[in-house]
């Protein structure tokens, strides 16, 4: 199982869900796989993808997905506690675990052997699963809407790779932000104001 296969599975199974993508190769591969206005490519602020997704999930019905990484979760685990405390039942927190910081040269994270599913359950997530095969990942995604009283975490083991062919994101960041907001159904009036400022 690799990152792009997991991302494609999320796009296929949850086609109308906003997806917040963590820093590094995750953003590049998510865009290379097929750019969507419902994707938020969080190219900076490593560790905060889950906080952004929690903010969306609190304000909007339907599932919100965060594609997190093992290194990103370790960088700011406070956000997982916050998502749990806020009882975001519509938050799907996917941790793609390759055990490494690939985009900075493949250094190891300190996550080897950590059981993020048990961690999530211990802090009050509604449910959690750990998968290392695509068919299991797909089955868990299929079952997402039918679960309990807090966020759902999927700890997915993926292959570590030597690099990516996906190019860097060149779309202006304010465009990514504003079209994401529009895709979530936010007010047109504000959009016009923002676009006017750019011209």
């Amino acid at each position: 199982m690799n990152r792009m296969v997991c991302m494609k599975a999320v796009y296929d199974k949850l086609p109308t869900a906003p997806v917040v993508v963590t820093t590094g190769y995750s953003c590049r591969e998510a865009m290379a796989l097929g750019d969507r206005s419902l994707n938020f490519y969080m190219v900076g602020s490593m560790g905060l993808a889950s906080a952004i997704a929690t903010g969306i999930a609190l304000c909007r019905p339907g599932p919100t997905v965060v594609l997190d990484g093992d290194g990103a979760l370790l960088m700011n685990p406070s956000n997982a506690f916050m998502a749990s405390a806020l009882g975001c039942t519509n938050l799907l927190h996917i941790v793609l675990d390759n055990g490494s910081y690939e985009s900075t040269g493949g250094q190891p994270t300190c996550a080897e052997g950590f059981d993020f599913a048990s961690f999530a359950l211990s802090i009050g997530y509604g449910d959690a699963a750990c998968v290392d095969k695509l068919e299991d990942f797909l089955a868990v995604l299929d079952g997402f809407s039918a679960r309990a009283d807090g966020p759902f975490l999927i700890h997915a083991f993926i292959a570590k790779t030597a690099g990516t062919r996906a190019p860097r994101i060149t779309l202006p960041l304010n465009v990514i932000g504003q079209r994401f907001r529009m895709a979530l159904g936010a007010s047109q009036t504000e959009q016009t104001v923002h676009q006017g400022r750019e011209s």
């Binding site: 906003p18 917040v20 938020f40 969080m42 190219v43 900076g44 602020s45 560790g47 905060l48 993808a49 889950s50 906080a51 952004i52 997704a53 929690t54 903010g55 969306i56 999930a57 609190l58 304000c59 909007r60 700011n76 406070s78 956000n79 506690f81 916050m82 749990s84 405390a85 806020l86 009882g87 009050g124 009283d149 807090g150 960041l173 304010n174 990514i176 932000g177 504003q178 994401f180 907001r181 979530l184 159904g185 936010a186 007010s187 504000e190 104001v193 923002h194 400022r197």
Partner: protein
């Protein structure tokens, strides 16, 4: 167990009148999502916001870290809200990367309410340096600042709202004694 508001209700005492007036102005001007990381200087305002937000049916979140608060508010903005983020200036340090690499480049217009620990020489030694650095850091990030109470409180909120409406973040700075805090308490 996972409803933090249920644990806080018993702690609310009388609401500080100035804090209530600021909270009311914020709600009147369209702020509809509130997140804070607690601070002694801001405590009266946090209580007032909490009560007003609850009455209006808006979210008020107690976040564990300032960058988490900024990230959460950013998500709320994408979902159509007009968020207000309250933090102590010591936590501004915690949130610099969130402001520098998330909200500013993506043009997410946040209104920050930042208290000024270390603003007066009698404050604790560990707060003095960030007291001096708060405004320069915000200005370096491209975030305009204004001292809360420099004009009428309503005008301060109108100023913050106009920044939001034009797509810019803005910070209202809160001096320590505004709502009665002192370094000796």
């Amino acid at each position: 167990m996972k409803n933090p508001s249920s644990k806080r209700e018993e702690s609310s005492g009388a609401i500080h009148p100035l804090a209530q007036s600021i909270a009311s102005s914020a709600l009147t001007k369209g702020y509809d999502f509130f997140v804070n990381v607690p601070c002694g200087i801001l405590a009266p305002l946090i209580s007032a916001i909490d009560a007003s937000a609850r009455d209006a049916g808006y979210r008020h979140v107690y976040a564990p870290r300032e960058d988490s608060a900024v990230g959460l508010a950013c998500g709320a903005y994408f979902a159509g809200r007009q968020p207000l983020v309250m933090m102590q200036n010591s936590g501004l340090g915690q949130s610099i990367n969130a402001l520098a690499s998330l909200t500013q480049p993506f043009r997410v217009p946040l209104t920050l309410l930042v208290s000024l620990r270390g603003h007066i020489a009698s404050d604790s030694e560990e707060n003095l340096l960030m007291g001096k650095l708060t405004a320069p850091i915000l200005h370096g990030l491209g975030i305009e600042t204004r001292t809360l109470g420099s004009a009428s409180y309503e005008e301060d909120i109108v100023w913050a709202k106009s920044s939001f409406a034009s797509g810019r973040s803005a910070a209202l700075l809160v001096e320590p004694d505004l709502m009665g805090w002192s370094a000796s308490t």
